[in-house]
């Protein structure tokens, strides 16, 4: 039995020491089989084999007789591998060129795959990920935007839906957390008690919420998100049980969540819905139309999404019938559900698919280039192959040899590629984080390595088989002296075909990059409608426990402005509800125009925004008619409003809106329009301006406002001023989201800029590889035709005509590639139609410019070998026959 383990040692070792070793084992471990002895032999036997390998390998390989078929095959493979490695080491330039291209191609694909795998392919990191749905209540009247749900509706859907076995709510608040080193404004996720159970999320420490945490009168508890726990408490394991004061009540931390995507919002702490003072105020909890909660459902096992849709529609129909006031027929309320996975990745999908297509195209170019290099090398080895054939090697045997060599190359390229991918992954993950919260899951794991390995093998096999394509058996010709480098026309044809495909694919990539670049330039030239130089913005979200009423909020805002305005560096300052270009959806609220005929269809809606008198001046928004707000626009004078140009155009159709009155606030308030201002891009550079109604801050002071300050001083100085001023007014009041308007705009452009940069880098890489390929093939063709060119020159051809001839030959390939590339370009532009801004996806300018760039690069690549052809000395060329 133990003898079996002796076989772990190499045969030569066994022959020398086998008997002694067995005897020693018996002496030490006792007679009979012992696991310890077996382990000892196995371990040391393998060590001996590994240690002896380099010494024995050559000897073993050269041994003529083989014990069995398996060993024979293995020996052949290893023999070829050794031969291949030696050959590759001998031609270092060739090997380096191939490894570099392969590393870039496989690396780019591996990196993109790791992103796609994490974001699109892998199941959600929630236990019930595939059964989770996002419930939505789109309203036709506000262009199909999701209105969210009111607490009463959540209760109804939870009780009445038969397709869902859990319905949970989420909304986000900012509260001030006291009790740590300093007051902190925390993003608070307010959730149903069974929120974490429905998602299947487990706590890392402590527990999540229990049903008894979410009943009236329960002691307030908090669960921390993993990120917040790491950031604010340095992963303090004793955090569970600590207490903090929030909203004037003592809250106890009961748990910390495990790391996972921050969804639906970036949240610091979670609290049960009953603990949120707003959610449970009568105005919200008992009002069916107080919507705004984000709601998720979990499908019962076996229930499909479409069945759930039907079920939800039935519930909605019952609710609409029971409370017609809450669901005006003209507004068009519906209730739908979408798979959570699609929701999480929807905005990332188009960009990622474009990137995947780009890297796959790049891989095609890389493969074509490597194939080209391999074939060039093969031509130099034709004599070697002929000799092998003469000595009896079969075609299959030669193929096996080449396959082994190419697999070694491809695998080495793959290993380098993984390094390239690892190097670029962090940046890529940061890029993906702009589109999806799942970016935190991106990593190089077993699946990604498996992908890289498969890709390398595929490339290796593909390249190994390529040389087998041109069938040829002209043994005698190949063996003749001086025949070493004769052209096989089939080779040149194959290599030309590769060049054509490279040009075609490069063109497609260039189109992709060009479209993104043009789109970015368009976005950059968009006029946001305001002057964004030297304007600082900051968010001041007052703690509601101390600023409950308008009478408490307004003085704070006005005193803050008075305090900041007198600073020497500040030109003007104002307060408003939100920073422009913020990427949010319009929060359309209903209004009526006094004296207007109620129109057919849904009631009109517009964005409401609060503004202090200097807002328009500070932002540089031109006043087009009437007047701006003044300090007089406050109670007890009559309420006023300003509207933007779009509003005036939409609702007054050429008539003068100034002096007209609007019924707002569900008809409770009448406001008179006193001024019209120009449109600004409130929701994003790529979006059309919405209809805006501005109301004076003095009438509607928001608790959560943005301070806007135009200054002569540097942003850092103004920020200091603002922070000091806020601190003087209320030491417990944090200032957050301090940014200049220029930064806000840059942020708006960041994703398209990064996408353009990535696509541009890939396209540049593709063009460089292709140019090298063109130059290589034309040079090869010139060297094949040296004699012919020599004869032409000897017979009186001008060098310039030789130059033109070679250029023509090269440009014919480029032209053919471009013609084919238009198809690829059209394909990629179709995928990109959702990403471009301000141009048609099939933008002719991009196509023409792309073709021109590629043709120019192709011409330059042809020029070098063409000049060499023109400088051929006829005497030398003819003599070398």
């Amino acid at each position: 039995m133990l003898r079996l383990f002796l076989r772990a040692y190499p045969k030569s070792f066994r022959q020398k020491h086998g008997e002694d070793l067995m005897r020693l084992c018996r002496d030490v471990y006792g007679p009979g089989f012992s696991p310890r002895a077996a382990l000892d032999l196995l371990w040391n036997g393998l060590r001996e084999r590994v240690g002896a390998a380099p010494r024995d390998f050559d000897e073993w390989l050269e041994r003529p007789a083989r014990e069995g078929r398996g060993e024979r095959v293995l020996a052949t493979i290893l023999y070829d591998a050794r031969y291949g490695v030696r050959g590759l080491l001998a031609s270092r330039g060739f090997t380096a060129a191939i490894l570099l291209t392969l590393a870039l191609g496989i690396g780019a694909n591996t990196a993109i795959f790791s992103v796609i795998d994490a974001v699109l392919l892998r199941p959600l990191p929630y236990a019930h990920g595939d059964r989770l749905v996002h419930l939505q209540q789109p309203v036709q009247a506000s262009s199909g935007l999701n209105a969210g749900f009111s607490p009463l509706e959540v209760k109804d859907y939870r009780e009445q839906s038969r397709a869902l076995d859990a319905v949970v709510e989420y909304h986000q608040m900012q509260f001030t957390l006291l009790g740590g080193a300093e007051a902190q404004r925390v993003e608070t996720g307010v959730v149903s008690a069974n929120f974490f159970d429905a998602f299947g999320v487990r706590p890392l420490l402590g527990r999540t919420f229990l049903p008894q945490d979410d009943v009236q009168g329960a002691a307030p508890v908090l669960v921390l998100s993993y990120e917040y726990w790491q950031r604010a408490y340095r992963a303090d394991p004793s955090i569970v049980g600590k207490t903090f004061t929030m909203n004037d009540r003592v809250h106890q931390v009961v748990g910390v969540l495990a790391p996972m995507p921050q969804y639906p919002g970036v949240t610091d702490v979670f609290m049960p819905s009953v603990a949120c003072p707003f959610r449970n105020g009568a105005s919200w909890a008992q009002n069916r139309t107080a919507r705004g909660l984000t709601v998720f459902g979990r499908l019962r096992p076996g229930v499909t999404l479409s069945a759930a849709q039907k079920d939800l529609a039935q519930v909605a129909e019952r609710l609409h019938a029971a409370w017609p006031d809450a669901y005006p027929r003209t507004d068009g309320y519906t209730t739908t559900a979408a798979g959570l996975r699609d929701e999480l990745t929807r905005s990332a999908r188009p960009t990622l698919i474009v990137l995947l297509a780009t890297t796959l195209f790049l891989l095609v170019i890389v493969c074509a280039n490597v194939a080209n290099l391999t074939m060039a090398r093969l031509v130099r080895r034709e004599r070697e192959m002929a000799v092998r054939t003469a000595l009896g090697a079969t075609r299959l045997r030669l193929l096996q040899l080449l396959l082994t060599e190419n697999l070694i190359l491809a695998l080495a390229g793959g290993i380098l590629g993984v390094l390239v991918a690892a190097w670029g992954l962090e940046a890529l993950a940061a890029f993906a984080a702009r589109f999806t919260t799942r970016a935190s899951e991106i990593r190089l794991d077993g699946r990604v390595l498996l992908f890289a390995c498969g890709l390398s093998l595929f490339t290796g096999v593909l390249l190994g088989c390529l040389p087998a394509l041109p069938a040829r058996a002209n043994l005698a010709a190949d063996l003749k002296e001086g025949a070493g480098a004769t052209a096989h026309p089939s080779h040149l044809r194959a290599r030309s075909a590769l060049i054509v495909s490279q040009v075609a694919v490069s063109f497609a990539l260039l189109i992709g990059a060009g479209l993104m670049l043009r789109s970015l330039l368009n976005l950059q030239s968009v006029d946001a409608g305001f002057d964004l130089e030297n304007v600082l913005t900051a968010r001041i979200d007052l703690n509601w426990t101390r600023y409950r009423t308008a009478e408490q909020i307004r003085p704070f805002g006005e005193r803050l402005l008075d305090r900041i305005r007198v600073e020497p560096g500040v030109i003007s300052a104002a307060l408003t509800g939100s920073v422009p270009l913020n990427g949010t959806n319009p929060n359309g609220a209903q209004f009526e125009i006094e004296g207007a005929e109620p129109a057919e269809g849904p009631r009109p809606r517009a964005d409401f925004e609060t503004a202090t008198p200097e807002y328009f001046q500070t932002m540089g928004i031109p006043l087009l008619g009437g007047r701006a707000f003044t300090a007089m626009d406050r109670a007890p004078s009559a309420p006023v409003a300003m509207v933007n140009q779009s509003f005036a155009r939409h609702f007054f159709k050429g008539m003068d809106p100034i002096g007209r009155r609007l019924k707002v606030d569900s008809g409770r308030t009448l406001v008179q329009i006193v001024g019209i201002v120009a449109d600004i891009k409130q929701h994003g550079l790529e979006r059309e301006p919405g209809d805006e109604i501005y109301v004076p801050y003095a009438f509607t002071p928001y608790r959560d406002v943005r301070l806007i300050a135009r200054s002569r001083a540097s942003a850092a100085e103004v920020e200091r001023t603002v922070r000091t001023a806020v601190k003087e007014l209320d030491p417990q009041q944090p200032v957050t989201e301090v940014r200049t308007l220029a930064q806000v705009r840059a942020d708006n452009l960041a994703s398209p800029r990064l996408t353009a940069l990535l696509l541009g880098a890939f396209a540049l890489l593709a063009i460089c590889i292709t140019a090298a390929g063109i130059a290589g093939v034309i040079a090869y063709s010139v060297s094949q035709r040296t004699q012919e060119i020599g004869i032409r020159l000897a017979l009186g051809a001008e060098p310039s005509s030789v130059l033109a001839m070679v250029l023509r030959q090269g440009m014919a390939l480029v032209g053919l590639g471009l013609a084919l590339g238009v198809l690829g370009g059209l394909a990629i532009s179709r995928v990109m139609s959702g990403l471009v801004f301000g141009i048609a996806a099939q933008d002719p300018v991009t196509f023409v410019l792309g073709a021109a760039v590629l043709a120019a690069v192709g011409a330059v690549a042809c020029l070098l070998p063409a000049r060499r052809a023109a400088e051929v000395d006829p005497m030398i060329a003819l003599r070398s026959t």
């Binding site: 070792f13 020398k16 070793l21 005897r23 020693l24 084992c25 002895a37 032999l41």
Partner: protein, 107 residues
């Protein structure tokens, strides 16, 4: 082979103890493991599976040689003995170590 030859790897502890054990008398495998364990106060236990790898390496370097295949009862055991090269290498190594140890003990 010279001990000053930098291409020669230095003696490993197990090898030094094997040389020390064989310095006194030729031994067979089992005797060697026992002797090495005793001399190193149990600190160096050469596992059977490893012993012949160590011996093989030392045989190749010419530090030891096969003494005889003696019969003990009905079993034939291989005895090893130290070569003159092995002796020189061991002594050079010992002198080197003695210097280091002397320094260490002095301070």
């Amino acid at each position: 082979m010279s001990i000053l030859d930098p291409s020669t790897p230095p003696l490993k502890p197990a090898e030094l103890f094997v040389l020390a054990a064989l310095h006194a008398a030729p031994l067979h495998g089992y005797g060697l493991t026992q002797e090495v364990a005793a001399r190193s106060q149990g600190r160096i236990q050469i596992r059977p599976g490893n012993l012949y790898r160590v011996l093989d390496r030392m045989l190749e370097r010419g530090l030891i040689e096969v003494h005889e295949r003696a019969s003990a009862g009905d079993e034939r055991r291989t005895y090893y003995r130290i070569t003159s090269l092995g002796r020189r290498v061991a002594q050079a190594e010992a002198r080197l170590l003695a210097e280091v140890i002397g320094d260490l003990l002095a301070t």
